[in-house]
């Protein structure tokens, strides 16, 4: 009796979540897939996929998206790991962490516009280098400015999971490693790095996936010199009103995201264990 009513209660608690999941996750995905497989009149077709894979422009755009996402992820990772490691050594780490999270409370568009103020020809950066007699440089509308702004926006999402996984490592493991004669480099390579891998993977997921579909920054900062799939989706939904092709590109983007998730997922045998176990 007890167990049955308990299970019923558990089922009851699941209802709001499953309704949410069905309405806002599953249903839109099905609609998207359905749209991508139909003509405007509602007939089944594979033409949209044929258009996509038959077009050099779209394939190049896909390559662009993946390439820029890779660059953004690499840049944020290279900066974030040492930063997270350092943060962990600090005394007031929660406070410093807060400073890193703070910018995520500000609207994305506002941050982007702030960068326009910094990087434009009459902006702060050019005014500053002007003090040393350097003529104003063209900073906006370049690959570099795009990567800078995108990396700036994504960095907190990389630091946070790495920081958490580093903080979870039992400090005694580090002491033990040193007691057993490992130097600092060996400790880092064989203890810290492997144990913080789940955080790194989570960070890569959190940065790479949203970067695939960036589109506002590509126009505002990149001046449409950087074209990603997000641009094409926006165009098909808003300008040409070809929702079918727009959905097709959306489906392809989702597939790319799923592949990223699979490649960076945690191996099951590791998640089952508590922190601190070292057996491979």
């Amino acid at each position: 009796m007890m167990t049955k009513s308990k299970r019923q209660r558990q089922l009851f608690y699941l209802i709001p979540y499953s309704i949410w999941l069905i309405l806002f996750v599953v249903a839109p995905l099905i609609l998207l897939l359905f749209q991508s497989l139909t003509t405007p009149n509602g007939h089944f077709t594979l033409k949209n996929y044929a258009t996509y894979f038959g077009s050099g422009t779209y394939l190049r755009m896909t390559f662009n998206s993946v390439w820029y996402s890779f660059l953004i992820t690499a840049i944020t990772l290279v900066i974030s790991y040492p930063m997270a490691y350092l943060l962990n050594q600090l005394k007031q780490k929660q406070f410093w962490l807060l400073l890193i999270i703070l910018p995520t409370w500000i609207n994305l568009l506002l941050k982007t516009y702030a960068f326009i103020g910094l990087l434009s020809k009459s902006g702060t950066v050019n005014n500053f280098i002007g003090l040393f007699g350097i003529v104003p440089q063209q900073l906006l509308f370049s690959d570099w400015s795009f990567l800078l702004v995108a990396a700036y926006i994504e960095i907190p999402f990389m630091i946070l999971p790495i920081f958490n996984s580093l903080a979870e490592i039992n400090p005694r493991l580090e002491q033990a490693s040193r007691d057993l004669g490992a130097n600092k480099w060996q400790t880092l390579k064989r203890i810290i790095l492997p144990l913080s891998m789940p955080g790194v993977k989570a960070g890569i997921q959190a940065v790479f996936i949203p970067s695939l579909s960036l589109f506002m920054i590509t126009r505002l900062i990149g001046g449409n010199r950087v074209i990603t799939l997000g641009t094409a989706i926006e165009e098909h939904f808003l300008v040409t009103q070809n929702w079918q092709l727009g959905s097709t590109i959306g489906v392809i983007l989702i597939v790319a995201m799923v592949i990223t998730m699979i490649l960076t997922r945690d191996r099951i045998r590791r998640t089952g264990r508590k922190r601190g176990t070292l057996h491979e």
Partner: protein
């Protein structure tokens, strides 16, 4: 647990109070839909002098509920999906043609329009709405070139072909719109902006691709801000955007090439969702009044199609060749037709390929 419940109750109470206040304020300012003396106006953001709305309410007793959109396509989708009760909206030319063909518009009863004779006949009876059966012009404008006299002399940019000059390497900001960008290329090749020939489109795309070394960025509304900040020497954009940029930077000037350009219209129409037709006609007639049209044109900075309103405008506005070009230029301007799904996509694909070309 107790703390948590108290917290949740406190949050809910605050939300209910705020909701109540919001409803109360909405009722007071007349955005509530209960009253019958109301006009639901669906317009572009910041596209009317707010004083005119107050004046309209004072004169006619209709309260105006003002909602805004930021693109023709967004407006079209919302009206097509239904569930709204907009009495009037203000789409652009090609969109009027599209909405008309999909039966989304109500014809205007000309016998109820009092200000028809005030309009300039040059801007009436356009291809997208013959005999103005469904629409009356609200504002009109052009596509043209903004230049900054700090970097460019006036005689260097008078025609579209000047943009291809190698001296403007990496200097030009281009509007992010397939029809406008390809339209320029078509005009330089003496073709119509509504051209539907594969060969002409391919030639236009090739011509546009040749412009790429000069293109600094392909952007939209941001052009006016960037030009005001001296970010680029030249930009291609609409007269409305230009007038805003010019008012923020005295070094900027606007040119409509004499060989031709796009002539665009934003016309006032009654969508089929209209429920308060008396209010709608009252508003159309109110805006046809020359004095009101002039006040609106002064506030927005776009060109008014109301001929009689010109005499109410200050001399330096109505004689400004940048925004009220001479007869010869106007006669070369072309209005966009709705290209239909197939050609809209062809234009956009060509433009996308152009954007993908590397410098």
């Amino acid at each position: 647990m107790k703390k948590l419940i108290t917290g949740i109750i406190a949050i809910i109470t605050i939300v209910i109070i705020l909701f109540g206040i919001q409803r109360y304020l909405a009722m007071k300012t007349g955005t509530g839909e209960s009253s019958d003396k109301v006009l639901n106006l669906y317009n572009w953001g910041d596209y009317i002098d707010p004083d005119l709305l107050t004046k309209f309410t004072k004169e006619t007793g209709y309260k105006v509920s003002y909602e805004t959109f930021d693109s023709n396509e967004a407006m079209y989708t919302k009206i097509k999906q239904g569930g709204t009760s907009y009495d009037l909206t203000i789409p652009s030319d090609y969109m009027i043609q599209k909405m008309k063909s999909e039966n989304l518009l109500l014809p205007l009863d000309h016998s109820r329009l009092t200000g028809l004779s005030n309009y300039d006949s040059r801007f009436m009876n356009q291809s997208f709405d013959k005999n103005n059966k469904y629409s009356l012009p609200y504002f009109w404008g052009t596509l043209g070139i903004i230049y900054n006299d700090k970097y460019v002399k006036a005689n260097q940019v008078q025609h579209w072909d000047d943009l291809w000059s190698p001296q403007f390497k990496n200097q030009i900001m281009l509007i992010d719109s397939a029809r406008d960008a390809l339209g320029i290329a078509l005009i330089t090749q003496n073709k119509s902006v509504n051209d539907k020939s594969e060969a002409d489109l391919a030639a236009a795309q090739a011509k546009l691709t040749a412009l790429m070394p000069n293109v600094k960025a392909v952007i939209a509304d941001e052009i006016k801000m960037y030009m005001a900040q001296n970010e680029a020497a030249i930009a291609v954009t609409y007269s409305g955007e230009a007038s805003e940029a010019l008012s923020n930077n005295s070094h900027l000037h606007y040119v409509v090439p004499t060989e031709g350009s796009n002539l665009w219209f934003d016309n006032i129409v009654m969508p089929k969702t209209a429920k308060h037709k008396d209010a709608a006609y009252a508003f159309i007639n109110f805006m046809s009044n020359p004095e009101n049209a002039a006040q609106n044109a002064k506030y927005i900075g776009y060109a008014t199609p109301n001929k009689k309103a010109l005499s109410f405008l200050p001399k330096d506005i109505r004689n400004d060749k940048q925004f009220y070009p001479d007869e010869r230029t106007v006669s070369h301007l072309q209005v966009y037709d709705n290209l239909g799904q197939k050609w809209t996509e062809k234009y956009n694909d060509a433009f996308l390929e152009f954007k993908m070309t590397q410098r």
